[in-house]
């Protein structure tokens, strides 16, 4: 009996269900027949183990997180901690609902800056990466700038940018863009250059133009790298936007979530501070999940990272 994930009958041959399918090749029939005999007693146990695994994957984190929140709630109630020191989760949720009008406005502002910065970072990063791979001289000339922008802490440049740029939203956008830009540029450059050597030769053999090589070979090859960069850049754009808002400390209707945190701090409105914080975390998580899903959808047909291996 064999319930371990490495199954001898599966082998490395074509997977009958997918590859051969209705074409029903000889090899396909043979493999499935083998599988059947080898796993007669196996499948039930194995399926059960797999199902348990899948549930645990969801249940475990949920249970741990819930108990942490309940523990927090209990701690605050039992110790009677005042809400201006540590608000209970229930109070935070209450505040979130009560102050939704203010907080949602700020959330939208922060989101706008994050996504605008990300969009510019994608356009700029991919565009520059393409230029880099077209001419090594362009790369040699401009790469240092990209590195300088990357290694300088955004919190240190933000005040300068705020001085030089009149419009605060534009200044915030520039700050968020600076942090989001580099992972896209460096990942995409790496991806464009990592197209298979023999495939490049093949394109050369058939007289492909630069443009054709870029479009049919380099861009698809760079896709997994680009998407990896995008996942990182999404989170970084949010961080950049928040940091820049802190530096700007701007008030008014167009103020983002970071400003709400500052403001709540001055007023000792700690529950609202936590509510704003919660919104930022949830936004970050959603951004990450969205890009992970996007990445999965785009790569699931072919890239190792997105393929569920059947052996």
């Amino acid at each position: 009996m064999n319930v371990s994930p490495t199954d001898p009958a599966g082998g490395t041959g074509p997977r009958p269900a997918e590859a051969a399918g209705s074409r029903s090749s000889k090899a396909g029939n043979m493999t499935s027949a083998l599988e059947e005999t080898a796993l007669k007693s196996g499948p039930d146990l194995r399926a059960a183990a797999e199902r348990r695994d899948r549930w645990l994957r969801i249940i475990l984190p949920v249970v741990i997180l819930t108990s942490a929140i309940l523990g927090w709630e209990a701690l605050v109630r039992i110790q009677e901690i005042p809400h201006y020191i540590l608000p209970a989760p229930s109070l935070i949720m209450e505040t979130l609902v009560k102050d939704w009008a203010v907080l949602s406005g700020s959330l939208i502002t922060t989101l706008q800056i994050t996504f605008a910065a990300l969009a510019v970072a994608v356009a700029g990063g991919v565009g520059l990466a393409v230029l880099f791979t077209q001419s090594k001289w362009v790369e040699i000339s401009f790469f240092p700038f990209a590195v300088i922008l990357q290694v300088t802490p955004i919190i240190a440049i933000a005040p300068l940018i705020l001085i030089y740029v009149d419009s605060i939203p534009v200044a915030l956008l520039i700050c968020a863009w600076i942090v989001a830009f580099f992972p896209i540029l460096s990942n995409t450059t790496l991806g464009l250059n990592s197209a298979d050597h023999n495939l490049r030769n093949l394109f050369q053999l058939y007289g492909a133009s630069r443009w054709q090589t870029l479009w049919h070979l380099q861009l698809p090859a760079a896709m997994p790298y680009f998407l990896g960069g995008l996942k990182i850049a999404g989170g970084l754009a949010l961080i950049g936007a928040i940091v820049a808002e802190f530096a700007a400390g701007s008030a008014g209707r167009g103020a983002g979530l970071a400003y709400r945190i500052l403001e709540s701090g001055y007023r000792l409105n700690i529950p609202r501070m936590f509510a704003a914080l919660l919104l930022i975390s949830v936004t970050g998580i959603l951004i990450f999940l969205t890009f992970s899903l996007l990445s999965h959808l785009m790569l699931r047909k072919w890239h190792e990272s997105a393929i569920k291996r059947e052996n």
């Binding site: 997977r15 030769n201 394109f203």
Partner: protein, 268 residues
């Protein structure tokens, strides 16, 4: 050194003339190599690892420059699609399905999907993968990927097919099967083929001329003709002729390798 005329005797497709190749790191991969490939020839380049077989093939394909000597095409320089190349690995685009992979050479020539549908199907039929147009490379076995790679090389109807140890990575049963398929295709179409291999048996089974190469620097050590009749099949594999030819080719290969060792000893 036996002089062997090209099998079909109706002119050459391509000739290497005193070709030398030195890489920028100083390696002399080929020295003074001359070779004629006749129309309809099936030529095997047989030699030990590192003797410059791939280098020679890439030079014929125009993928590398010669340091000295020329590649001469009597009927004029090859145009786009005149050369089909099969690499040692399948070298497929993993993000594209079988159809798109085979379409690629024609696509780079500006042919749209609808115009190439028949050509691609025909090429896939030839290699026995008619029903797999929509499959992705990862869904195929090693042998099937190699077939796709061959279909892609055939889709432009090339004047010459260059194959660099295409079956070296496959198990023997699959290799025999693909050898047979390739041979049947060649018997039916009489393409010109240059087939790199380090398997004596493969070279004898397939080709009508075996070019034995010696290593460091790479050059032609000996050429053996093989006029065993076609169609060849399992009968040929078990025949006296086959055994005899294999022994000859093997001897030639060993002579070429010994020559290299003695040379190395002399220079050492």
């Amino acid at each position: 050194m036996a002089e062997v005329k090209t099998a079909q005797g109706n002119g050459n497709v391509v000739s290497l003339r005193h070709v030398s190749k030195r890489f920028s790191n100083g390696t002399l991969a080929l020295q003074d190599m001359s070779l004629d490939i006749g129309k309809g020839d099936f030529v095997s380049l047989l030699g030990p690892s590192g003797c410059g077989k791939s280098t020679a093939l890439r030079i014929i394909a125009g993928l590398g420059d010669t340091t000295e000597g020329q590649v001469h095409w009597p009927d004029g320089k090859p145009e786009r699609g005149d050369i089909g190349f099969v690499f040692q690995e399948p070298t497929l685009m993993p993000w594209a399905n079988v159809f798109e992979n085979v379409w690629l050479p024609r696509r780079l020539d500006g042919a749209s999907k609808s115009t190439v549908r028949d050509e691609v199907s025909e090429a896939l039929e030839m290699v026995g993968l008619g029903g797999f147009a929509a499959a992705y490379p990862r869904e195929l076995s090693g042998g099937m990927k190699m077939r796709v790679s061959i279909a892609r090389a055939l889709v432009t109807k090339p004047k010459i097919l260059l194959m660099d140890e295409p079956f070296a990575a496959l198990d023997e049963i699959t290799r025999f099967k693909l050898n047979d398929d390739l041979l049947h295709l060649w018997e039916a179409h009489h393409w010109t083929v240059v087939f790199v291999t380090h398997s004596v048996f493969e070279s004898v089974y397939l080709s009508n001329r075996i070019v034995v190469m010696a290593a460091r620097p790479g050059r032609v050590a000996q050429q053996l003709g093989n006029d065993a009749p076609h169609p060849r099949g399992d009968g040929f594999r078990t025949s006296e002729d086959y055994a005899h030819l294999c022994r000859n080719a093997s001897d030639a290969l060993h002579a070429a390798m010994d020559e290299h060792t003695t040379r190395a000893e002399v220079t050492a």
